[in-house]
Subunit: 214 residues, 2 copies
DNA sequence: GTCTATAAATAGATAGAC
DNA sequence: GTCTATCTATTTATAGAC
C-alpha cells in the first residue's frame, strides 16, 4: 500500500464530473488566471455544483496545480514520442518545434497558462512540475549537444535556441484573440496567418541558427 | 477648456503619492496580475492609505489601464527615438530589438504584464492602447517594407519577424525568476546568461531571416 | 456522488473628519 | 492631500442532507 498520491489522468473523452471540472477549470484559468478564475464559474461551466469541485479536489490551488502538472507532463511525453521517431539532429529539432505546436493546438489552455506562470515566476509550480519543465529544456539541450557531437551543429547556447523556438510558437497561439483586435487597429493580416507557416518559419530559423549560417 | 482627460505622466524620480502608487501598482500587477493584485498591498507598498488610491484613480481597473497605456506609449516613444538615429535597414532592425530590450530593463513590470495581457486576449486594453500596440507592430512592418524596397531585405511576413524578436526578448526578461528555479532543477546556466548575449543573438537571427540566408 | 445552505474571510470602494 | 472607519459584495470553503 503506497502512500503515493493518486494522480489525475484525464482521458480526452471522459465525461465524468471530475474530467468535466478539470476541463472547465483549464479554460477558466487560461482565460482569467489563477486569481481571476472563480470556482463558481468553473462549476457552472462543468455543469456541476460548486461543492463537487471540493469533493474531487482539495482546493482551488490544488486543482490549478494538477492542471499545470498534467499539462507539462503531456508536453514532455509528446516531445519524447516525436523525437524518438527521428534519426537526424535536424529531424529532432523539427520534431521539437512540432511537438510544442501540436501540444498548444491540442490544449488551447497551454499557451496562456504558461505565459501567466512565467509572469508569476512559476509561483504555482510545485517542485515535481518544475522538474518536468526543466526536463523539457534539458531535452532540447541534449538534442543540441548530440548534434554538435555529430558535427552537424555549431555549439549554440541551448537556452537561446529554446527561447527562439518556444517563445514565438507560444506567442502565436496565445495571441489568437489579441491579433484580431490588432488587425482591426490597422495591422493587416494579423488575424490570418497560418500555424503551419509559423511552425515552418521557426523550424528554419532554429536550424539556420544551429548550422551556424549567421 | 478641453474635455480631454488629463493623462498621467510619471517622472522616474517623482516622489509624490500618485507616482508612488503608480510604481507600487506596476510591481504588484506584474507579480500577481490584475485580479491577483490587491489595492491593500499597493497602498502598503506605496506607503499611503488605501483611500489615496481612490483619490488619485477612479478604480483599480482604471489604475491598471493607466499603467498599460503609459507602458506601451513609452515603448512606442523609445522605438521612434532609437530608430530615428539609424540610417540603414539593418541598423533600424538592431535598434528595434534594443528598444524593446532597454524598455524591458527600464520597466521590469513590462514583460510580465505584457505576457499576462496576451494571455487574457488584451481584455484590459482600451481602444487607444490597442492602437498604440498596433503602432508598435506597424513600425516594424514599415522597417521591413523599406528594407525590401531598398533591396536589402527579402519580403518576410513582418509578424513573423516581430514574433521572432519580441517573444524571445520578453521571455528572457520575464523568466528571470523562473530560470533560477529551473537552474536548481538541473538546467545548468539557466540563471546566468547575459542580456547582451540575448540581444545580440536575436538581432543576428532577425537579420539573417531578413537577408534571406535560410 | 451530488446538492442546498451557509459560514468565514477578503476585497474593492466610499463617507467624512482633519 | 491624507487618514480612520465602515459598508457591501464577492469568494473560497465546508457541514450535512439525500
Amino acid at each position: 500500500m503506497s502512500k503515493t498520491k493518486r494522480l489525475v489522468k484525464i482521458a480526452p473523452d471522459d465525461s465524468g464530473s471530475k474530467a468535466r471540472i478539470f476541463r472547465a477549470a483549464s479554460a477558466e484559468f487560461a482565460a482569467r488566471g489563477f486569481a481571476g478564475g472563480h470556482v463558481d464559474r468553473i462549476a457552472a461551466a462543468a455543469g456541476v455544483n460548486k461543492a463537487m469541485i471540493y469533493y474531487h479536489f482539495k482546493s482551488k490551488a490544488a486543482l490549478y496545480r494538477e492542471i499545470l502538472r498534467e499539462m507539462f507532463e503531456a508536453v514532455a511525453a509528446r516531445l519524447d514520442e516525436m523525437s524518438a521517431r527521428q534519426r537526424t539532429p535536424d529531424g529532432k529539432i523539427r520534431a521539437f518545434v512540432e511537438a510544442i505546436a501540436h501540444e498548444a493546438e491540442a490544449r488551447p489552455h497551454f499557451p496562456p497558462i504558461w505565459f501567466r506562470e512565467i509572469a508569476e515566476g512559476g509561483a504555482h509550480l510545485d517542485p515535481a512540475t518544475i522538474a518536468t519543465v526543466a526536463g523539457i529544456v534539458r531535452r532540447l539541450a541534449v538534442i543540441v549537444r548530440d548534434g554538435v557531437a555529430a558535427g552537424r551543429f555549431k555549439p549554440v547556447d541551448p537556452l537561446l535556441v529554446h527561447g527562439g523556438i518556444v517563445a514565438p510558437v507560444l506567442l502565436y497561439y496565445a495571441t489568437a484573440g489579441l491579433r484580431k483586435r490588432i488587425a482591426k487597429a490597422g495591422v493587416t493580416g494579423a488575424d490570418r496567418f497560418a500555424s503551419r507557416d509559423v511552425i515552418a518559419h521557426v523550424q528554419r530559423v532554429a536550424l539556420t541558427t544551429l548550422h551556424g549560417r549567421m
